[in-house]
């Protein structure tokens, strides 16, 4: 007999206000339907009424776990529309800050994910303490704790403060040690392994078919990373390789993210070592910006959650239309497909491993 149950929109494990309507037969999921829209506020429409550089705060609130990544994607779109070159040093600093943001985002994901699969608030407390150390670095570089708004056309709002390199090195050493500790702790836990291994399997073909991106795609063994395939800034000069796992289950996605933290640490170190001297400041907001030259631009970026594509039709002073391909929206669409046939308790292991941010899904 098939029973229909409702989960959410307020549920401690849905990471926001996701509502799931699930048909279950005994303890097996027959059909899962995500209902979204509880956070919809029409960002794309609001942006059309704002001048170009009034919009970054709105962009940051899309993905509030990794705000700077979205901010940067938007500013890069505007830069492309205006045909502005980014200064050399600003490119290096942006790369480094984006990777720091990726580390912070993955650490938050790890804490909440471990919460969902039974490591009740132990790993959460640890990762939040470590995330805070990384956030403090970002605060130092940009002046804010959560919503940075530090990208300007052609550069940044400010250069790195003196002594930043040494402190960043210290933090990177610390995080590297801690990541190893998390892995040792979690993978020694039979509970964690039972709930992650072989759950929510998405094979290579299905992953490509569903259009998922980011760590979810790389967990299914597809070698696609925007930083490598459609490179931007100084990623081609830095030494890193996309992390792949071929299993396609929740554990593979977890492992990919853990390896990505390590890669990001390496990228930050490389970027700090090779950073050129010079000017990194962008245009102040108060000046009238150069009006947009290119009518239609699109920029794709690798966010911590997957590929974001910003497509903009540009008017001289404000966007005529901005369309955002949100990574988590597409990843959420994969959820009903891969959770067919799993147990009811595994729904949250799957939703956690997809790393959903509802602000990004609903826009």
């Amino acid at each position: 007999m098939v029973t229909r149950i409702n989960i959410g929109p307020v549920h401690p494990s849905t990471h926001g206000v996701l509502r799931l309507v699930v048909d279950i037969d005994g303890d097996t999921v027959v059909k899962l339907e995500p209902h979204i829209g509880f956070l919809h506020r029409g960002v794309e429409k609001l942006v059309e009424t704002r001048m170009y550089m009034q919009s970054p705060p709105y962009m940051e609130k899309l993905d509030y776990v990794a705000p700077m990544s979205y901010d940067e994607a938007y500013v890069a779109t505007v830069e492309k529309a205006m045909g502005v070159e980014v200064k050399e040093r600003a490119m290096w600093i942006r790369t480094m800050l984006l990777e720091l943001q990726r580390i912070a985002s993955h650490l938050l994901w790890l804490g909440t994910m471990a919460n969902d699969v039974g490591q009740f608030f132990t790993v959460f407390m640890w990762t939040f303490a470590d995330r805070d150390v990384v956030l403090r670095l970002l605060e130092e570089a940009s002046g804010a704790r959560m919503f940075y708004v530090n990208m300007r056309i052609g550069g940044l709002i400010r250069d790195l403060p003196p002594g930043f390199e040494e402190r960043a090195e210290e933090v990177m050493d610390h995080v590297e040690k801690r990541v190893k500790k998390y892995e040792d702790f979690l993978e020694a836990s039979p509970l964690f392994m039972e709930r992650m291994k072989g759950v929510g399997v998405m094979d290579r073909e299905k992953a490509i078919e569903l259009g998922v991106t980011g760590p979810v795609l790389r967990g299914s063994g597809v070698d696609y990373d925007v930083r490598k395939n459609n490179t931007y800034y100084v990623y081609e000069k830095l030494n890193f390789k996309p992390q792949l796992r071929s299993d396609g289950d929740c554990f593979a996605r977890y492992k990919v993210r853990m390896m990505e933290i390590r890669e990001s640490i390496r990228l930050v170190r490389d970027a700090l070592a090779g950073m050129p001297d010079g000017d990194a400041l962008g245009m102040p907001i108060k000046l009238i910006l150069p009006s947009a030259k290119n009518r239609m631009v699109s920029v794709s970026r690798e966010l911590p959650r997957g590929e974001c594509l910003m497509y903009m039709i540009a008017d001289p002073q404000r966007p005529y239309r901005l369309s955002i391909r949100a990574p988590t929206f597409i990843n959420l669409a994969a959820m009903s497909e891969i959770s067919k046939g799993c147990r009811t308790a595994d729904i949250f292991a799957i939703s956690g491993s997809l790393d959903l941010v509802m602000g990004d899904v609903d826009r």
């Binding site: 926001g16 829209g37 506020r41 029409g42 609130k61 939040f128 805070d132 959560m146 919503f147 509802m358």
Partner: protein, 189 residues
């Protein structure tokens, strides 16, 4: 005293018999039992009034309920750095029936209002609301959006506002301290 043998009728009438026994034993005393119990309850009420208030102020259980951005800072508030439990802002409860305080963290959309209302109705009285962040206070940057309620105070009574976008977890800590003072009667509305 010898226990009497089991008797079904007597078993069924046990309550009557017990009250008869109590009445008989109480007849020795000068004050009647009703009066005595009334006085006792008065004394305990007077004693417990302060006690209840004291314990209510010092054990506020927030509801685990995050809407958007500010929920990240709310999670940080619950983590080890702030260590909110030392002042009695205890562990986040997953069900509204066990919670005293609802921290509305994030923008309130029109589709979310019925859900928030239902959560609020499920909480036991006395219940408190903290509006955390710019969006929950007044709509914030989404003021012009077509799907946003301009502050949670348009639908539910708010006790403490914490402003900022987003406020730091320390600010929420200060907000909780203010709520404590309000419950304790130190500050008025």
């Amino acid at each position: 005293m010898e226990t009497p043998p089991y008797d079904k009728e007597r078993f069924l009438n046990a309550e009557k018999e017990m009250s008869a026994l109590v009445r008989a034993s109480m007849s020795k005393y000068e004050t009647k039992p009703n009066v005595m119990f009334a006085k006792l309850s008065e004394v305990s009420k007077a004693l417990s009034k302060g006690l209840v208030e004291w314990s209510r102020v010092r054990s506020l259980w927030p509801l685990q309920f995050g809407l958007s951005c500010c929920a990240m800072e709310l999670m940080d508030f619950g983590s080890a750095r702030i260590d909110a439990e030392r002042r009695g802002y205890l562990f986040f409860r997953a069900t509204p029936r066990q919670a005293d305080v609802m921290v509305v963290a994030g923008w309130v959309t029109k589709s979310m209002v019925p859900e928030i209302k239902r959560l609020y109705e499920q909480m036991l009285k006395p219940r408190y609301i903290i509006a955390y962040g710019e969006c929950a206070t007044c709509g914030g940057p989404w003021w012009e959006s077509y799907n946003i309620v301009k502050g949670i105070d348009q639908v539910l009574p708010v006790d403490v506002y914490v402003v900022g976008c987003p406020p730091k977890p320390e600010n929420l800590y200060a907000g909780f301290m203010k709520l404590q003072k309000k419950i304790g009667g130190e500050i008025e509305d």
